[in-house]
Amino acid sequence: MSEGYTPRELMVVAAGREIHDLEVVFVGMRLPLLGFGLAKATHAPGAIGLFENGVIRDRPAEAFIYTMGDPPNIAGAVACVRLLDVMSLLQQGRVDVGFLGGAEIDPMGNLNTTKTMPGGQLVRLPGSGGAGDIASLAGRTVLIMDHEPRRFKEHVAYITSPGHHADRRRGGPATLITTLGVFDLRQGRFRVNSLHPGVTAAAVRAATAFEVELDDSVETTTPPSAEELAYIRHADPEGFWTGDPVRNG
């Protein structure tokens, strides 16, 4: 690791570690997509990736893709089915884990990607896409967020993707991976699993508008191995998603 690694590379590695072998994964784009490829290349060779456009893959796309609909994500897929077919599998409970992001998060893991009201002024965001479905129906979800005070709020302005709630039949947020650490959200609690190298408890508290269960015995996120970094840099050679002006490690 002579060159170090970026925070986003570390997040990709953390995302990949959330995927177990043979699991069915609702993948999404950006960091989770790389995490899926990384998991496939290392500890989870039997994982299956589902995309909401209907693509089912058992290996990552051969070339870099900007969207899940890009031709390299179709070529070599094991199946291209209807959106409602993959949503049906999701609703059935056949998807083990799904990845989600958001503009805002609250302590129950509710995510907002619909609209915010900074200073009372409406800011309209794109909306749910498939996120609300994955949040509702996957066996568990892994959330990925930039860790900033304006995003980590006691109450989100709008629940696009429901977190833990009384009527939940399965799943819910299991893990949250941020630019600062990895958090355990199971059972509606918000606990630290690990902080990234160099991140202090004070930094997490400063960036989080609500209480975090956190003490000094917290572990440090295991940095990417050389093999993991090699995979990521092969898959995202120009650092389109993982590049970052600040390099750690």
Partner: protein
Amino acid sequence: MNGKRRGLHEAIAENVRDGDAVALGLALESGIPFAAVHEIIRQRKKDLSLIGPISDMAFDQLIGAGTAGRVIAAWVGNVAGGSGYAFRRAVERGIPRAIEVEDHSNFTVGLALKAAAMGLPYLPTFTGIGGDIVKDHPRVRPVTDPFGGPSLLAVGALRPDVAIVHVQRADEDGNAHLWGNLGLVVEAAYSARRIILTCEEIVPRDVIRSDPNRTQIPGFLVNAVVEEPGGALPASVQGYWRRDFAPFLDYHRRSSTVGGFQAWLQEWVLDLPDRGAYLQRLGQPALARLRVREERLAAPANFAP
């Protein structure tokens, strides 16, 4: 005029009316019928309801151009850049006009179309429970399970007046071969009152009949068939066109102001008479870069009886 073959201008003029509910962008990021989107803008259609799962920048352009009064979608923005600025201006400030938004998830908008495709008033689902999308939603009501299980939500049927779909090839009856992403194409095609098909190639009927499992839209549902190669650019079409990433970023950047949007619209839509002119403006080097020339053919499938 007999038959279903049309030019795009004519197809839009005949089949898209002011106030119509128009479904498009149904295969998600690929095969977005941008040529039809731009023709709708040129024809200054009004008060459209736009229906789709994620629309990429197509809905943003239609909204910015003032054609839309309502959006029924799961996601409106620009997959490359995030927010859709025209969508934001319309929702936040009523520019160029106020629009209603019926928020969905991909699953609920799919179920709404599927309910109509099935001739049903609604379909039940468990998605969305505990979130705000389904709260006070005009198309979502609670339902009980008549077999005694947990309660569900009913998503009401959504029938587009017209669905616009871009496919790889079709015959002149409108039987359409589509491969790659399917998304909600079938559901929208089955549910819509009318279908406009744009395609890379119109092929002899026997090409379609050689592979009936590749036919995602049967022709008897189709009203107009338009041969419009490159009609989905800058979106991709599997086996024909790569995604042209730059125009998405360019649009994203320029549309961040009203003036920038207008200049973009003038340059790429209003000043161009048709898709041919668009492709010409894109230029041969770009087209050569985007056109798929490699072959990775589907393994043979024998239909001999």
